[in-house]
Symmetry: D2
Subunit: 201 residues, 4 copies
């Protein structure tokens, strides 16, 4: 129905996270309606991100700046004994916004829905194991993954994987469970309520 160039771009936008063909089509017509200078700004900004952004060799956080390490990893005031493993970049950002965490991060690159080899290989497992081996100063590894089924499967996988590297002065923890802001007892499951009771304060 759409012309060739339009359909090609709809197909491309349909691969963006959360986007289906209907929204993708709206993106294309939005771009067509833009003035030339507005479109150039978009193209330049995409190119700029690709050109300016490097991936931190320590935590895999994208960053802009000098050297091989991101601002968090080079920051001397961050606590190098804490390593927080997150699935993706936006999760790191969510945790940073709380201003409550002063340790370092490691971006795993995704989660696994089942422990299939093909899925696990997409994650940065080798890099994670190497990091834990080479950095004896890490005393706590926080598995900060979603509390849904994929996040749980990944947490279980990582707990098993990292067990050999855990000693008396190194432990693995998970994010605490409880009632979220806005949550109601009536709709909370038993595990959430149990945790909320235990972590009362």
């Amino acid at each position: 129905m759409y012309s060739k160039s339009v359909q090609k771009l709809i197909d491309i936008f349909s691969k963006f996270p959360t986007i289906g063909p209907r929204t993708a089509a709206r993106f294309v017509f939005y771009l067509i309606d833009l003035k030339d200078e507005e479109l150039d700004e978009i193209l330049n900004s995409i190119s700029a991100v690709k050109r300016n952004i490097k991936i931190c060799i320590s935590c895999f956080n994208p960053f802009e700046g000098q050297g091989m390490l991101c601002e968090i990893c080079v920051n001397p005031s961050r606590d190098k004994s804490l390593l927080c493993i997150v699935a993706k970049e936006t999760d790191l950002n969510s945790l940073e916004k709380t201003k409550k965490y002063k340790g370092l991060y490691f971006i795993l690159g995704g989660t696994v829905s089942a422990l299939k080899k093909a899925e696990v290989e997409k994650l940065r497992i080798k890099e994670l194991v190497a990091k834990i081996k080479n950095q004896p100063e890490i005393s706590e590894i926080i598995l900060a993954l979603n509390s849904n089924s994929e996040g749980e499967a990944t947490t279980l996988y990582l707990e098993r994987l990292l067990k050999p590297y855990i000693s008396t002065n190194k432990k693995i923890t998970r994010l605490g469970r409880g009632l979220p802001v806005g949550g109601e007892l009536e709709y909370a499951d038993e595990e959430t309520l149990s945790s909320a009771l235990e972590s009362r304060k």
Copy 2:
């Protein structure tokens, strides 16, 4: 549009919690379609509840049985130093289902959206204060209210109200916050994530 008897019953069902006139009308036609013996069973069951159920004079939990106290309040193995304040009966039941809480309860009878006198008077405030005064064995009062705005307003109100009765060997706590089961970091607010980080284990 509906006949008098039907409209009357629609109006009655519309006052049931969560029910609007559309569902209320479906209830009425559901009842009309029932056989006589099925309808009698409903009427008898409603009457039986009213006849058999007493309200516990200590915690205000409805119960069936001998005496003036519910099964929880008469149970000698429950920990009398813990008092958990909940808004309504179903919240008590949600906490009991976790099998993690061994103390006693107090059913407040609702929450307040704002601290208006008329609203506060609907709650069992006098009964709560009397209980706290008369039971020095209580060492922890757990405010187990929803984490939404009404629950928060009620929690703040109770904290202020009960402050005079708190001493070094008596404290007020709240349910812990954190990621609920199924929760995702990306959609969690900063306060929920902060609590989840702090209560990690």
Copy 3:
């Protein structure tokens, strides 16, 4: 978890249309909290509906009053050449509220999800066929069923069933399709849009 009488009533309310055990529990505690006279009013209103309401022998609409026929069927100004078949009582009421339909109705008593004998037997099929046979004055049968898959299956079934009784001066129609109030072209399926184009005015 709940006492016997309470659990019995929860089970009963859980069979009400659209109600699950959680809302059923809230109903029971709502009833327990009512004053005696309020509860009596509910019991009396349910009994009154059962006592006062008769089912119209012609259209199966519940009604209150003298005789064997409902107000619509006895109303001489209604057009006896039009028969509108609806699944349930509330659908009849929805159509009456429009004040655009002046014919008669027939309440089928449900819809079928598949053409299984057991399901079809729950509907008033025999009564419908008898009515069509005995009332030659009917010139149009309107199948006013939902436009979802159950409604469509039932419509197809009725079209096949009633075909033998259709002649040059008797026809079967369906409700028109189109964009509903509030509907958007972007989210409308092709069949809805086709109908909306055809029935433009």
Copy 4:
């Protein structure tokens, strides 16, 4: 929290239709994770659309090809006596998919929520009036706007605007209303049901 280039691109994606800052951030990290050749394909496809797509001077439909007119406007088999006014490009496409409409289109460029001058001026009103004046062969103008409040306000505005150009051999119509596919009588408003009854067939 994000680096400058990343935040710039998040701001740009946040202006895309339906996109908020959270999804915009995911887009940026999606792009960062792509291989160079994948990113180049996106940049090239956006440039190609801008380079190849022209806006039809008659109906304002974006198209790819020779001349000044889109495939629909140059198609001799389309019925030039029918003009269908739509708000946006994707609405035209939705109607084309039905394969039921053989006339021409006019893309208005939006809808108005209120009849403020600033809002109305963003629409192609002058172009529409000129078209109606210059093309006496148009016998029916179909206002194919959403059935929500913005669409209704725009329809009313256009009806008033075009009234002076309507004569005995030129009329204005709207899309028909009715139950959409999947719709249920119980949740349909009275106007939708009235239309569904009137357009029964």
